[in-house]
Symmetry: C2
Subunit: 196 residues, 2 copies
């Protein structure tokens, strides 16, 4: 939609949860089947409807080194069996590429881990920018009562590798306990040597 | 200052003109000698003092493909002989790398051109994000009465090539005429075939 070789501008709307003039891609509850710990709660919730968990506005560029892929993602507030709404999460297909997340509104957590299982979870609120180094998978979680949005930039040739996260999830999960976001171990997570 | 291989966060201050805890690099009037069209006005202004024209807060990373170089730049308001305060401007040393500028506060213009002399000037105000494709030199100009700040991200191996801009400047200059920012041709600019 944007010319490939001339500069162009795009505009974040005033509440910084949308890119003006772009139609977002929506991820609904059904598209995260198998990702939440409590599959019974997931099924019960899906029987009531299929709400949007998040929307993203990608600004595509040619997928070559030197170009940048950018966009905005907005996560809705909510939980499934006490686990906060979250993005699918992924490694980059080109593992040695980083990414920058800049929080625009709301509050959440950025859950990250390496292929070896080293993990880190970083709080995000407006003004916080997180540098995700090459090799770190990343997932965002909305831990607040309102929408949580962030702007992101990565190399345009980074690509996505959803597979390994879909199989077992991240090492840490973010759940509501006594009204507060709490990190718990993911019982499905196995260290690399034990995976089949 | 940041660990090289683990995620880290940094925080834009509440007015979005600084990165908390980072000491900025300042560019004063004297460092832009030869860049403003009116050298007599430049000398007269410098005789009165050497004000800061802009400050930038770079978040350095290893200069290799896959890493990202990010930061924040704040331009002060002012003019030299009617020409608005501006950054030095540069091509990337690795020409085939792009950059993203996201305006945080104030108002300004982003002046761009290719090695062949194709030019474009884009207005910036809060919420506006500009995609600078590979090959386009870029300079920002503060056309407003307040500070003008923006967040930027480029590939960490992009590097800087200031030389060709220092020699003749950009094809277009931004000057105040009848109280409004106006584009004028740069009389020192030569098309590639006529440069020595």
């Amino acid at each position: 939609m944007f010319a490939m070789s001339t500069p162009f501008a795009y505009t974040l709307d005033s509440i910084q949860e949308r890119i003006e003039g772009l139609t977002p891609t929506s991820r609904r509850l059904s598209s995260l089947r198998g990702q939440f710990l409590d599959s019974r709660a997931f099924d019960a919730q899906l029987a009531q409807g299929d709400p949007v968990l998040y929307e993203y506005y990608p600004v595509h560029r040619p997928e070559v080194a030197g170009e940048l892929f950018s966009g905005l993602t907005t996560l809705y507030p909510g939980t499934v069996g006490g686990e906060y709404f979250m993005t699918k999460g992924h490694f980059h297909a080109l593992l040695e590429t980083g990414e920058i997340y800049s929080c625009l509104s709301g509050q959440g957590k950025l859950v990250m881990e390496t292929p070896e299982g080293t993990w880190q979870v970083t709080d995000m609120s407006p003004g916080v920018v997180v540098y995700i180094p090459p090799r770190w998978a990343h997932r965002t979680v909305n831990t607040g009562p309102n929408k949580f949005s962030f702007f992101w930039v990565c190399p345009a040739d980074a690509g996505h590798d959803y597979g390994s996260i879909e199989r077992q999830g991240f090492r840490k999960r973010v759940v509501e306990q006594n009204g507060s976001p709490t990190l718990i171990d993911n019982p499905h997570w196995l260290p690399p040597a034990q995976r089949v």
